[in-house]
Symmetry: C3
Subunit: 277 residues, 3 copies
């Protein structure tokens, strides 16, 4: 059986770009199983793509091929790469997109590592034309280069075959919260930010569960103070609640409503967690 | 061959939620075939999800596993269930979502029953951790519980194995039209409502074809009277037409336009059908 | 192995229409591989659908079945057809939708022909009920007729079996640019138009690469003059650039921005290419 391919882009679904890449993959690996992670990454937003991959990575099968294309620099000198990490192989542009999900420690790790998940073992540059389409455009490497490479990997071609050793990949800085210490060196607060707003208007923050204090805790955002964490989206006294969400990150939500809309905030908004209080 | 999985949620496609559930399923059932019914159910709109399942159910293969998650009560006391109905198995929260598609008679049945379709035979509570992910969050049971259960069912595990007998499921009331009778007990009108607005702006109503009178008929909505039913979207004299749509329900449409926009109405708008006239 | 099915519609993804067609296909061909090209063709926009198919066609596997439904005339006299072209079989309404991707020469061919691509060999009318669902509605032939026919074709049924000889299909005129000649009969300009706006706001035009002059060239749109073509989306001096895009057509773009928004234009906008200048 071919390895499953997990596919993420900023192509959107209104054009045929996603379908064309899948067609190319099936032309190379006719029995490929292709699963969409999402294609609605905001256009050319590499950081949003890196975050999406990060949240998905722990749940991917151990033999997954991940095809990720958010690639504003297509056709320029940026390198096309494949990265091996814990059994999984990531394929995409070397612009930081892959660096949170397939990065080497110390790297951002809001989620506890899971069985089968791993760190970077190998980076290769996809420089071997026999694994591309015969003609490679300057504007659509998903179709002409990344998709074909992923298809060959899915069929069992090794990462060392599809490219040459590539050294380190480009990395994106993860917005790890900054910690405020008191006079005794004790943490009194952590200053993070909203890193993603989901479909429900939930605000996913850069505060990882492993770094949160035991209660009591106060979360501050947009001038509002939220006392304590609740366990699910229906709990809590106030209109705005805070909880550890499904990605292992602190989330701010409004039961049966949208925190993004109620608070009028989006990605980048400061979120401070205070200890004790 | 595994059973096919039909997947419906309110997760949207912009986040990785849908892709993550599929990744989990493929981790358990590597050769699973997963078909999206839709993931654009309005957020937390259980009734809209129930309607979508109702329209799709007659067309599902006889061995389908249906994974449906519209789950505002995730993490609360609402039960996770699986429901067996006519060969098909429905998996989701016990909040009424499954009750129109997998319900026991007398239940709403705007569509005539089809070969292979059936009524509720078994309801089980999904209370067996060996069919969940090792760690279950309080906010994402699609990933941690429903998806894994569906994957095990697709692989051939029996419904009696994945859970314990669950008694009756929660049901949603279907907006069955109310009938007006004349002095002789004859039906003179039926009062229903718009139950769904589709992509084209067609207004799908709660009037089932089996309950419509033979012509002549007058349909009233938003102060407008539509005389008679037409057979397709290009027929009819006026700008607004009425016809029996593909779900077996009365629809109101505007040829080459949007009835929702022209009439300025949406779900819940009253629609009256008058006999004779 | 069944033939892969590539699926394009204007159904959108918010309703269950797409999922229902797939369910019907899997009921007939349980191991069918179904790939979405797009379902976000603007409602009833046959020309946009024809363009989408045209861009995807060169990349489809040689044995592809293409199921395409943009069908404002469903239920009227328009014919349901299947078209054989170069190993591939296209299924859909006979309203011009298939004519650019599966058309006979001389036909619009902005892209150079590729291996496996071909011209119309056979057109059949889908008039054989044994390849439909038992009951065919007047409003959803994707579900009741086209989907089932595609499923049977995918299983290996021949095009001559699913329908009767159909003569020529309806064609849409392609907006081939008009050429201005000087007094010596030399081309001095070509007048085309924007034929598609993609997710990034790139303006894809009807000017094919094979018909563009060698440099120097000036592209004019919305009163703006763009001098010369660049090779990728990050190149070029001005805020607005012109390049040969991935479909082999002249595109107008704004690096890291939207040309459609900056110029305030959409499909149909005039685009003139001047030779020499």
């Amino acid at each position: 059986m071919t390895r499953p391919i997990f596919f993420l882009t900023d192509f959107g679904l209104a054009d045929t770009y996603v379908g064309i890449v899948k067609a190319v993959i099936l032309g190379i690996a006719p029995d490929a199983r292709i699963v969409d992670l999402t294609h609605e990454i905001p256009g050319q937003d590499v950081r949003a793509g890196a975050f999406a991959l990060l949240t998905a990575a722990p749940y991917l099968p151990a033999d997954a091929v991940v095809l990720a294309v958010v690639d504003p620099g297509v056709g320029t000198a940026r390198r096309p790469i494949a990265v091996q990490a814990g059994g999984r192989t990531f394929v995409g542009p070397d612009n930081g997109l892959l660096s949170w999900a397939a990065g080497r420690s110390p790297n951002p790790r809001p989620l506890p590592p899971r069985a089968g998940e791993g760190e970077t073992e190998t980076v290769v540059v996809l420089d071997r034309p026999q694994f591309w389409l015969p003609s490679v455009s300057r504007t659509f490497h998903g179709r002409d280069l990344f998709g074909p490479a992923a298809a060959h990997l899915a069929r069992g071609v090794g990462i060392d075959e599809v490219g040459s050793p590539g050294g380190a990949m480009q990395t994106l800085p993860f917005p790890t919260p900054r910690r405020d210490l008191d006079g005794h060196g004790q943490i009194v607060a952590a200053r993070g930010e909203v890193i993603h707003v989901d479909r429900y208007g939930n605000l996913i923050t850069s505060h990882g569960v492993a770094d949160l204090p035991t209660e009591p805790v106060v979360v501050e955002i947009a001038g509002r103070r939220i006392g304590g964490l609740v366990s699910n989206f229906q709990a809590g006294a106030g209109p705005v609640i805070a909880l550890v969400g499904s990605a292992g990150l602190l989330e701010i939500a409004v039961p049966n409503g949208s925190a993004a809309r109620l608070l009028g905030v989006g990605v980048g908004e400061a979120v401070t967690v205070s200890w004790g209080a």
